[in-house]
């Protein structure tokens, strides 16, 4: 019997592959990166087997390359994500995401009495811990930790 090695998601010629996304957060990553408003071809999948994460998600975007500060925005939902930059079907660069010092938008403040949960305000946080992410609200000063993290 012949062994078949098959790619679950087809290869791209030029663009970015984002791998090792926690399975349930693929749609959040698409949203944070604004990929729901991109005209280029995007293939993505989730619940692939992964030794590291159990189940993982994967996104391939043709002809889109991200700046570091853009890609770091997904650190909150995909801290272990790996990026492969593809040119002419070859991986030319690999990147990992890094939790930034400040988070603008993206997350919601855990404090129900915070003004940001009552008016249309872009949330702002200072990252006080990067390992188990913990965010300090610029407005009310309360800490939102990983457990209570809600992506807006």
């Amino acid at each position: 019997m012949k062994e078949r090695k098959q790619l679950s998601v087809s290869a791209i010629k030029n663009g970015t592959v984002i791998d090792h996304i926690p399975a349930k957060n693929v749609f959040k990553v698409l949203q944070i990166l604004g990929l729901d408003n991109v005209d280029e071809m995007i293939t993505f999948g989730t619940n692939f087997e992964s030794k590291k994460l159990g189940k993982k998600g994967l996104i391939k975007v043709s002809n889109v390359f991200f700046l570091d500060e853009e890609i770091n925005k997904i650190a909150l939902v995909a801290p272990e994500a790996k990026l492969n930059i593809i040119k002419e079907y070859e991986v030319v660069e690999k990147k990992v995401v890094e939790v930034p010092d400040k988070i603008i938008g993206i997350a919601r403040c855990v404090n129900p009495q915070c003004i940001t949960n009552h008016e249309t305000i872009t949330t702002r946080f200072q990252v006080v811990s990067k390992k188990d992410v913990s965010l300090k609200c610029h407005y009310c000063g309360k800490i939102t930790d990983q457990e209570n993290l809600v992506i807006v």
């Binding site: 404090n111 009495q113 915070c114 249309t120 407005y139």
Partner: protein, 302 residues
């Protein structure tokens, strides 16, 4: 400090805090009745706080300034559904400085970002109340002659009390020794203890203060509210422990003074009022000088 909003006590450095206190002292000695002539101060009280509002309005009136505003949100366009942003942007047109009191946390910071004039936070929910802190510091310095190396007792609800948290942050500039006296359920949160640890400042925690009050330079009393307890029995057990009575003052230092942000309910017994160590009413008067100093310094009128 000119044109800069005051939202949180850590918006001011140690030097800036001292500048405000010096200025307040100046206004106490020699009032400047026309300093705010031609100026309009807005006092926007989205929730009632009679004491704070009157203190601000007294400060402005004694300077000859004018006041516009509202005393609670039911009499403003908030009831029509106006956003805070729109209210602040509108009132920016009518005034030289906005004083805001709002039940939501972070509201004053947000207001300072959308306003075209400086904003002073007169309390945003359980978050910050920096003018209270500055008047507390003024009262401490005035009664002790210094802010340095004092032993400060914080008594009562140390978990939820924003005044004690801000006071702790501000006093941390002055090599203070802290004694925290509270019921188990209302202890000082860890984040503040870590903050003091990092600065190498000393603090001690107690459940009772009858035996140690003789060491205090300042006893800062706060209310222990029944609704803060998950178990009402717990409240009944401790409620009398955090009441200050005259007989407890017997062996206290001569320079010791009792402060309270007011309103008081029963945590300082009436009989204490006649003691020369009771300072909570003069403390309220100091609020007027301190708020004058804050307004004058932000408007650059010094």
């Amino acid at each position: 400090m000119k044109n800069r909003s005051l939202v949180s006590i850590d918006d001011y450095s140690k030097d800036e805090i001292i500048k405000i206190l010096d200025l307040a002292e100046e206004f106490e000695k020699s009032p400047a009745p026309n300093l705010l002539e031609g100026k309009v101060i807005a006092t926007l009280f989205f929730e009632p706080s009679t004491r704070t509002r009157l203190s601000f309005e007294s400060a402005v009136n004694r300077f000859g300034g004018r006041i516009v505003g509202f005393t609670d949100s039911s009499t403003s366009s908030v009831t029509k559904g106006e956003t805070l942003k729109d209210t602040i942007k509108t009132v920016s047109n009518y005034s030289d400085l906005i004083v805001i009191r709002h039940p939501l946390e972070g509201s004053a910071r947000y207001a300072s970002e959308v306003a075209s004039v400086p904003v002073v936070n007169a309390g945003d929910g359980a978050n910050q109340h920096p003018t209270q802190t500055l008047l507390d510091l003024y009262s401490i310095r005035k009664t002790q002659g210094t802010l340095d190396n004092l032993n400060i007792f914080l008594v009562g609800d140390l978990k939820y009390g924003r005044t004690v948290h801000s006071l702790l942050m501000a006093m941390s500039h002055f090599n203070t020794t802290f004694n925290f006296i509270s019921p188990e359920e209302l202890r000082m949160p860890d984040e503040y203890k870590i903050f003091l640890d990092n600065l190498g400042l000393k603090y001690y925690e107690h459940l009772d203060f009858t035996d140690i009050i003789s060491r205090a330079d300042i006893v800062y009393m706060t209310r222990v509210q029944k609704e803060r307890f998950s178990d009402p029995m717990e409240y009944e057990k401790v409620k009398n422990v955090y009441v200050l009575r005259k007989k407890m003052l017997k062996n206290t230092k001569d320079n010791m003074r009792i402060l309270h942000p007011l309103p008081r309910v029963n945590e300082i017994h009436d009989e204490v009022d006649s003691s020369e160590k009771a300072y909570y009413f003069p403390q309220a008067l100091n609020g007027v000088y301190t708020r004058q100093a804050i307004i004058a310094s932000i408007l650059g009128l010094t």
